[in-house]
């Protein structure tokens, strides 16, 4: 066993060195590509949920469904065919970077729930576990913060309990977050990280009685101690906060509240090694009576620049496989843009094959045979190339 391991490591080093050397000498694209493929890719999922109580109008990711009747303002002149049956709204999803437009899928799911809370529970969990936290717990990696919530906004009914030893950690300010990860300025007031880990372990022990007697109300304190201690034991990371602030146009602010800052913090957590990142936009997404789609379009226009920045920058990370999802608890229905019984999500990622399994009817409905939400999470695990897929078989065959 150890001999095989030894040979494998040596072969890998020799092969990489040879590839690097030859590519330098001959400029060989073949060797460059072989070397690039040898870089391990860390899977990362960003889920953007539209609204604490919202909806994702399928005019954006099933745009051709509505052109005949002109519902939600769809017309032949404002849609873009990305191929393999996927037609999107030009001004929003059609404005994404070229990488996204060639690696985008619409994934449909039916949950038969018409109320926000019930639909949120259906798309995010199985009644007990949060699918996102569950996925984060099986994706591997060595980061202490494996599942991160940008800011403190979540969908209205959102299971938060830890799954498989992974808890949801709120990122409310990038400055203190960078300090916790070891990337902040060091001065005499900065505690030594090893001593701090010991001090917090002691604080955790001295808090044991309170935590035991208040398992729910002090549950986040318990998880906070465990994850902060683990964070302090990891190697320190450095980050370029100014570059993030500039890229996302948030000035010198570090607070994670507006959508731009949530995307900046999401990129920070991609770099920090998180597995699953969740960002909820608290804007105007519960767009009842929005028959011409104007309100939904205004909301999308507000968030698309930050999403485009995130996708454009993270798709260039050679050592990351970043999958970006736009979703809500349901589509909007026709007439009157009310609540639908299913949802079509947008998925962008390196191993996403362009196409759709979420094309709706002209009445904005998905077919009764559309898979359940758990199958959507199985698809995400598949395109993430997660080492484990806890969600069963993936019926969405849009995988590169």
């Amino acid at each position: 066993m150890s001999r095989r391991h030894h040979i494998s490591r040596r072969s890998l080093i020799q092969g990489a060195a040879a590839a690097a050397g030859l590519s330098t000498v001959a400029g060989s694209s073949l060797f460059n590509r072989a070397f690039a493929q040898a870089i391990p890719e860390k899977p990362v999922l960003l889920v953007i949920h539209l609204g604490t109580f919202g909806g994702y109008n399928s005019v954006f990711n099933s745009a051709d469904s509505f052109t005949a009747a002109g519902d939600f303002g769809a017309a032949a002149g404002n849609i873009t065919n990305l191929g393999n049956g996927l037609v999107v709204d030009t001004a929003t999803l059609g404005s994404m970077p070229d990488f996204a437009k060639t690696h985008m899928a619409s994934i449909g799911m039916r949950h038969e729930q018409f109320q926000h809370e019930a639909a949120q529970r259906a798309v995010w969990g199985d009644g007990t576990n949060n699918f996102g936290i569950r996925l984060a717990s099986v994706m591997g990696g060595d980061a202490a913060i494996k599942c991160a919530l940008m800011g403190d906004t979540t969908p209205g009914d959102f299971p938060k309990s830890p799954v498989g030893g992974v808890s949801l950690q709120q990122i409310r300010d990038m400055g203190p977050t960078i300090a916790a990860l070891g990337g902040g300025a060091v001065d005499p007031l900065t505690p030594n990280r090893d001593i701090a880990a010991g001090g917090l372990t002691a604080a955790q022990q001295m808090s044991g009685d309170s935590i035991t007697k208040n398992p729910v109300l002090l549950g986040t304190v318990k998880e906070g101690y465990a994850t902060s201690i683990e964070t302090l034991k990891k190697p320190v990371r450095t980050f370029n906060l100014a570059a993030l602030q500039s890229a996302y146009g948030i000035g010198t602010s570090t607070t994670v509240n507006g959508f731009g800052s949530k995307m900046a913090a999401a990129e920070l957590m991609v770099e920090a090694g998180a597995n699953v990142i969740i960002a909820t936009d608290g804007g105007d997404w519960d767009t009842h009576d929005d028959n011409n789609g104007a309100r939904a379009r205004r909301s999308m226009a507000r968030i698309m620049p930050s999403i485009n920045t995130f996708v454009g920058r993270t798709s260039a990370f050679a050592d990351r496989n970043v999958v970006t999802v736009i979703m809500a608890e349901f589509n909007r229905s026709i007439p009157n843009s009310n609540h639908n019984s299913g949802m079509t999500a947008t998925v962008v990622g390196k191993y996403v094959k362009t196409g759709t399994t979420g094309k709706t009817s002209a009445a904005a409905n998905l077919p009764p045979s559309a898979p359940k939400p758990v199958a959507f999470w199985s698809y995400l695990a598949t395109v993430l190339k997660s080492p484990t897929n806890p969600f069963g078989a993936n019926p969405h065959n849009l995988v590169l």
Partner: protein, 215 residues
């Protein structure tokens, strides 16, 4: 005529309401004592029928109004994470002044916008930030007192740990808690050579415990 009809309706509904309640009040529940003492929490264990002074009301559907009541041991789930607005005063109360870092942690401690309320939740970042604020405050607290001019020993650490706990938690620390604190002072801080900083680290551990961060 219309007013009379409404009055009649109100009177009728009142009778229906009274019948629905008064006719179905059962005897107070809870006749026995506690089933025992929970060794984990040290609190009495109450059986389902031992909820003190509880009454059960039959609902119109035949069930009881208390059927979905969540039961739990007495004394559990009484604490909350202190919100940022409370921490500002609390650090000043126990340390004599607010750590300069604290205002930079308002968002991290989930300070809500004006006229809004969020039930505060802790996180890895907020816990470490609390430790940073505590360490800064404790550096000031231990800067001049003669008690912190020499290296902690098991004896002096036990004394000072007890003082820290009384000051920060408003209660007397148990022996196990003192032992943990003494270990910080005499073992965990060994890499630190400055005696006063050793005491500051010790102080910070006590100040970052749930005894201070919750109420």
């Amino acid at each position: 005529m219309k007013t009379k009809s409404i009055r009649a309706l109100v009177v009728l509904l009142s009778f229906v309401g009274l019948a629905g309640c008064a006719g179905s009040v059962s005897e107070p529940e809870g006749t026995g004592g506690p089933l025992g003492i929970d060794p984990k929490t040290g609190l009495p264990i109450l059986g389902d029928d031992d909820a003190p002074a509880g009454r059960s009301y039959k609902a119109f559907g035949g069930g009881t109004l208390g059927s979905d009541r969540i039961s739990g041991a007495a004394g559990e789930e009484m604490k909350r994470v202190k919100p940022y607005s409370a921490l500002v005063g609390e650090y000043a109360r126990v340390l004599g002044k607010t750590p300069a870092l604290l205002p930079t942690f308002a968002a991290t401690f989930s300070e809500p916008p004006a006229r809004w309320f969020f039930e505060p939740e802790a996180s890895a970042v907020s816990v470490f930030s609390a430790y940073r604020a505590a360490f800064q405050g404790c550096l000031d607290l231990t800067a001049t007192d003669a008690a912190y001019a020499t290296a902690p020993t098991p004896t002096t650490a036990a004394t000072e740990c007890g003082k820290f706990a009384s000051r920060f938690w408003t209660r007397t620390a148990g022996s196990a808690e003192i032992d943990v604190c003494v270990n910080v002072a005499t073992v965990q801080t060994q890499p630190e050579t400055d005696f006063r900083r050793k005491w500051a680290y010790t102080c910070a551990a006590v100040l970052t415990s749930a005894g201070f961060l919750s109420f």
